[in-house]
Symmetry: C2
Subunit: 183 residues, 2 copies
């Protein structure tokens, strides 16, 4: 397909989390295109599963108007120099108070590649146990939800968040195929 | 969970597609929070399936650095007053030259509800046939891909776009469960 090169960008707003502006690209055939762009530091998402439950959270997502969004544990890559796996391990402890002995990177994807560069590093976390030392600030608005694996379709029905829908469908498919090893 | 009300917003940049700025909210307990926000008009995504194939596209996604992103047919809700289903029907014709006799809304979800309000109205389109009258501009950089259903796991492996990963996993699960009726 078409190769292209960035040939310049203009930052219009640099927020704490997102940066917005325009970027120009030149395709191999010479055509130049201008794209609106939202830069984002990236994020991690964790599918944490034991023999009975998938561990989820409910939290307000104000900008989307959601008072209790059902999601997998997740967080932004907002610690300079922190690798995605380390961020995922930190977020799992901070958000649901757990650690995992086994980690597997399942996929890295873009949430909305038409206008944003946010990538999500998505992990499967197994062999869960309580995290010994949970640092970081607690957010009292995050509810921890141990969701029974037998009711995973109901989680899909409630969920409205793309990264979490991917995780829930992947989990349902792996269970359907008998591909999820015991925790 | 926590209810909240928007109590004010400031637009910092109004682009053609996205708007960026900050919005403030007051939770029921009185706490006020400030959120960076990217406003987006919303989008549609179409899972178009016949008895042998799922219909996909490959196209450059410059802002994500992808030269040939494998995705389901999709498009922005950028025609004023156009309902999501009508937009999906238009996009299916424009992007892959098809119409569908049977439409089903599968889900509406947010691509990244932590900072953006982009919603995707996601449809299943069945009983496909060539669209009689394809209007709208053609984009020569969009490649139409008739992907064999038997190789759906390879599509999941290649795909890096959240809405398309949701669609591909849902399709694999429906086929695994024998829930996808013949086209």
């Amino acid at each position: 397909m078409s190769e292209f090169q960035p040939i310049g960008s203009e930052t219009i707003w640099r927020g704490e989390i997102v940066t917005a502006g325009i970027e120009r690209f030149r395709h191999a055939d010479g055509q130049e295109v201008t794209r609106e762009k939202v830069w984002h530091p990236g994020a991690v998402g964790i599918l944490a599963v034991d023999d009975e439950c998938v561990w989820l959270t409910r939290q307000p997502r104000e900008v989307a108007g959601l008072s209790a969004s059902l999601e997998i544990p997740a967080g932004k890559l907002d610690v300079p120099g922190e690798a995605p796996l380390a961020a995922a391990q930190r977020e799992l402890a901070e958000e649901i108070g757990m650690q995992a002995a086994r980690w597997e990177e399942l996929k890295v994807f873009y949430t909305s590649p038409g206008f944003g560069d946010e990538r999500v590093w998505w992990y499967l976390a197994r062999e869960l146990s309580p995290a010994p030392d949970v640092s970081g600030e607690e957010d009292e608005r995050i509810e921890i939800v141990a969701w029974p694996l037998a009711r995973i379709d109901a989680a899909f029905a409630e969920c409205e968040d793309s990264k979490s829908l991917i995780a829930l469908l992947w989990l349902a498919l792996a269970r359907e195929r008998g591909e999820l090893s015991p925790a």
